[in-house]
């Protein structure tokens, strides 16, 4: 006798005829895009191409000029990170970690991204990379889909590898969108969208096309 199991919908973000502007400039026009869990989705392009503006629209932080954005399937929500985010210089690591533990819906141990730091260290004494790792560690401990703007910036090569591995694992069950200005092999392999500076044009590629 066949048994039917209720299946959970695959988390996805769908953009329909989306136009995004940044100031007076249109960065993408009439974009249709379907990003689903399964693989990391890369937004690639040079500085000023509009990756951050598009990512903010995908995250629901800014409205699109035209079109609709539909985010479905992830009960835990959609998490957003930007490389310019940092911790206040006068806070200490212990204080931040206590806050993160209380903000998380369930206890989750630190990830490998968490730098080995004394709990009494002040953030202003940390390197830029260590500060970024503290924020990324907090974000990756929370459940949900990820929309990350330049997350590899300021990280050491080991941390970049660790982050890439964690993003791949997360992408298996959640949407993971990464905006970056560096075209990496990993991006070419996974699939994504390339934005051109000043052209309001975007070109998508898929893993199948690559293979």
């Amino acid at each position: 006798m066949p048994v039917s199991c209720p299946t959970r919908p695959v988390p996805r973000i769908q953009l329909r005829s989306v136009t995004v502007r940044r100031g007076p400039r249109t960065v993408v026009s009439g974009l249709d895009l379907d990003v689903a869990a399964g693989r990391v989705f890369w937004l690639v392009g040079p500085n000023g191409a509009g990756k951050s503006s598009l990512l903010r629209v995908m995250a629901g932080l800014d409205p699109p000029e035209r079109g609709t954005v539909e985010r479905t399937g992830d009960r835990a929500g959609f998490l957003y990170y930007h490389a310019e985010m940092t911790l206040p210089p006068w806070c200490v690591v212990r204080s931040w970690e206590r806050l993160v533990r209380r903000l998380l819906p369930a206890p989750v141990p630190p990830t490998v991204l968490r730098p080995a730091l004394g709990p009494g260290r002040r953030v202003r004494r940390l390197s830029t990379g260590e500060r970024k790792r503290l924020l990324l560690d907090a974000l990756l401990r929370a459940p949900g889909s990820l929309l990350l703007d330049e997350p590899f910036e300021h990280l050491s090569s080991e941390a970049k590898i660790a982050l890439a591995r964690m993003l791949e694992e997360r992408a298996a069950g959640s949407v993971v969108v990464v905006a970056t200005n560096q075209e990496t092999e990993r991006a070419a392999r996974d699939g994504g969208l390339r934005l051109e500076a000043g052209a309001a044009a975007a070109t998508a590629w898929t893993p199948e096309e690559r293979s």
Partner: protein, 236 residues
């Protein structure tokens, strides 16, 4: 208040206490109180707290100490990080209000301790000073948060304090100086807690009105964010 809002308030308050500005504030309080005692020694021959100098010290310290830490959070993008990923807008607002309240509480506690020590254990009078000064600052807390919400001022108490003194000056043209001062700062008797009731009522009303304005302002902001999501549907 949710558990998350309390956690953020604690984080912001602890971070505030570690900033150099806060220590400049506490230093000003101690320095001006000691100057007042020296003045009293020179004028009257006894070492005792000069209430005027204690008030000046408290007022100067409040300028440096009373804040929520929202400016530092916003400058580093941490406000967005927390509000988008972990806390609702009203939870975040509650957290920063509590953080600003905690900073004024810390200053008032420090004043109580200092006045108790320097008055050789006259805790009753020291408590009265701390209480009456604290009431004057507590009603300005929502306005401090408003200033922090729209500016990058590191001394967010300055504009509300300036507005308060400015109001006295303007009112004194209409009502006369004595009436204007009495209206803006009802007279009190040192050591008589009952005489601070008008100030306490005013502080409570100011606090409520200010918090209500903040909630309305935050709702307007949430409205903009909803507009951002108007074209965005979220389903499970």
């Amino acid at each position: 208040m949710t558990r998350r809002a309390i956690a953020l308030a604690g984080f912001a308050a602890r971070t505030n206490l570690r900033t150099p500005l806060t220590w400049i504030g506490f230093g000003s309080l101690v320095a001006l109180t000691l100057v007042g005692m020296l003045s009293s020694r020179l004028d009257e021959g006894t070492w005792q707290i000069d209430p005027a100098f204690l008030f000046y010290g408290y007022a100067l310290a409040a300028l440096f100490v009373v804040r929520s830490g929202l400016v530092e959070q916003r400058e580093g993008g941490l406000e967005t990080f927390l509000r988008v990923n972990f806390l609702g807008p009203l939870e975040h607002l509650a957290a920063i209000l509590v953080s600003a309240g905690a900073s004024s509480l810390a200053l008032t506690a420090c004043t109580l301790l200092l006045a108790s020590l320097l008055s050789a254990g006259d805790v009753a009078t020291a408590s009265w000073y701390a209480w009456s000064y604290g009431l004057r600052v507590v009603m300005l807390i929502p306005f401090v948060v408003m200033v922090e919400s729209v500016s990058t001022l590191r001394i967010p108490l300055f504009p509300p304090a300036l507005a308060w003194f400015g109001s006295i000056v303007l009112l004194s043209f209409v009502l006369g100086e004595e009436q204007a001062v009495a209206l803006m700062s009802p007279p009190v008797e040192v050591g008589d807690f009952g005489s601070t009731v008008p100030i306490a009522l005013r502080a409570g009303a100011g606090l409520l009105a200010g918090c209500a304005s903040l909630v309305v302002g935050r709702c307007v902001r949430v409205g903009y964010e909803r507009r951002a999501r108007a074209a965005t549907t979220i389903t499970d």
